[in-house]
Symmetry: C2
Subunit: 117 residues, 2 copies
């Protein structure tokens, strides 16, 4: 689902990763928990996630500023998840911290929207 | 697959989108063509892409500078693809242009790598 972020500027963390075949259940539970926990952190603006059948996934989380990103990274529960990621969940990953200067969100107009004719 | 980008800084375009059910074949052919064509453009540093079974996808392309992004956006073949995206491929999307100031790439050490003991 698209993150309905506010007007730029804001920050993004692009987390691209290749899953191992290990521990699908444990990974699923923790991933869901991390999304819910991140949403409760100061400065969180939204997140988007996709993973293909080949196990390659991208999660992008959006934040008000860089300090929010550092605080979330240091969160104790997140640190445990990161350690498990190194230990068994990921074959490789990239984390990129980026400043979003402009964006464009687009929704397809509804042909049958009320008041459109 | 992870994009093996050079050391920051560089730029990223995060394209998040929800596919319609329409024209899977046409979309597939064009998407593949666009990836190959983008890779030939000046300043292209790599791209990553994932789409789940729900039709939500994220493609991140990496570029040396902002002018490279503008040139690729203006490319005639890309413009045709963008128009088809509005017309039939996407229910909604977001494009975000971001400056990547730092990154971290990690590969799981191979337990059986030569010279590891």
């Amino acid at each position: 689902m698209l993150a309905r972020t506010p007007a730029p500027p804001y920050w993004a963390v692009v987390f691209s990763n290749q899953r191992t075949a290990a521990d699908a259940a444990g990974y699923g539970v923790t991933a869901e928990h991390m999304v819910a926990l991140a949403a409760d952190q100061p400065g969180f603006l939204g997140a988007e996630s996709a993973r293909g059948a080949d196990g390659f996934g991208i999660t992008v989380s959006y934040w008000q500023n860089e300090a929010d990103i550092a605080a979330w990274r240091a969160h104790a529960a997140h640190q445990l998840a990161i350690a498990a990621g190194f230990d068994r969940w990921y074959r490789c990953f990239a984390t990129r911290v980026a400043y979003v200067g402009r964006d464009h969100l687009w929704d397809k107009p509804q042909a049958d929207a009320p008041g459109q004719g």
